[in-house]
Symmetry: C2
Subunit: 241 residues, 2 copies
Amino acid sequence: MTAKDRRIMALSLALAERKVIHLKEAAALMQVSEMTVRRDVAENPDLFGTLGAHIIPAGRPDLEAPYAIDRAAESHSVAKRQASIHALRYLQPDETVFIDCGSTLTHLVDLIPADTRLTVVCYAFNTAERMITKENITLILLGGVFHPTSASFAGASGADTLNALGINVAFLSASGVDRQRGVSCEQFHEVPIKRKAMEMAQRRYLVCDQSKIGRVRPAHFADVSDFDAIITEAGELPSDA
Amino acid sequence: MTAKDRRIMALSLALAERKVIHLKEAAALMQVSEMTVRRDVAENPDLFGTLGAHIIPAGRPDLEAPYAIDRAAESHSVAKRQASIHALRYLQPDETVFIDCGSTLTHLVDLIPADTRLTVVCYAFNTAERMITKENITLILLGGVFHPTSASFAGASGADTLNALGINVAFLSASGVDRQRGVSCEQFHEVPIKRKAMEMAQRRYLVCDQSKIGRVRPAHFADVSDFDAIITEAGELPSDA
DNA sequence: CGCTTACTGTTATTTTTATAACATTACTGG
DNA sequence: CCAGTAATGTTATAAAAATAACAGTAAGCG
């Protein structure tokens, strides 16, 4: 193994532990010039990426994607976050909370104050990811096969695990809400978990932006009347809307 | 809501979707000067962090920790990675693989080539995290309560799920390996899963660095003879070592 | 209205980072 | 041992980013 290989390995290693390392630091660490580290990094784009003078592990597609200016508007991010802000009012400290998958509720997770003690049950990767850094949250993840489309896990054991849990509040998401045809989502594999979570919870809230109202999506999982409230960016939806 | 609040919200929003946004881009996006964005970011250290001119979401403790020069040596990273390189030889494409928790095997995951088709079963967050970006891997995560010490999930449903799986190879980790007193780890909650995974698998490999040899840790989970091989940085350990 | 205060922008200056060119050292195969 | 090549370091220069100081602008309030 050449000195170069050793360096590259050392760098990968350091990056595996930290997520970032500064160019200058890396150079000092392996006792070579910054220029050499720069060249090492540039020669291994499959291993390393950079953010300014900071070296980061490669393969973070999110870091590379360009940002369409109105992508936020398109996906109703503002409305989703606003809805989550309203939903936050229904979250009591020290309770056990179910949080559904979907981008809307990741906002809710982001908005949970750091000092709020909670037990949170979820089955989406991006939800879990945001939770593990929060010290006051006990996280329960329902496992299963990973579905990339919704970044969530699905499997029989998820529903089983729910059976053994006492859930105070469930926050559900949906991509279609129709007074007659009920509440629906895109993925069928989410249905059993959503249903079971709703069944187990004392209180059930549907959180979504208003663009979902009137839409019908393939996987039906509940009726509008099954929820204690429907929360959108405008606050709680009147029950006769 | 003041214009400033709106900006800060917009920035959080953008960061929720992308993980990074460049200062210049952010300024353009909200039509203010870079200086204003800088000030917004600086005033909300609980919301935003920065890496050079790139704005990132706050609360990434890993990005802030200082790097002890010989922390890598202390934790035997090089040996661990080397052991994982050897272990890689026992991984066959198209098989179903169980991967234990622990830092050693995160190296193994990093080393899996992008084009290798696999079904991987795991129960550690950091293992799962590295897998979800790999397109050719079907991921099955065993859920349960999250244990921060080992970044893993534990619960009855994990072992249940394993029961329904056909596993070809299991890669186990350990923090103690003693010919007489067996193989052990730090956390008791890992034991049921480790045992069940070993029971279900056709082949069982223990992957650890040699510093673990001769050590005994609190939670015993197997005997040395239960493994088809023990793989360290020196390769396969002779069965009479 | 006029005053104060908070926000924002501009500019100048310093520091850091990026790039390129060239010099030096180390390694390779005859 | 001696090309010849790859690897590394050094330096110069250009570009980008960080900081500070000041100027203008908008908002709040008696």
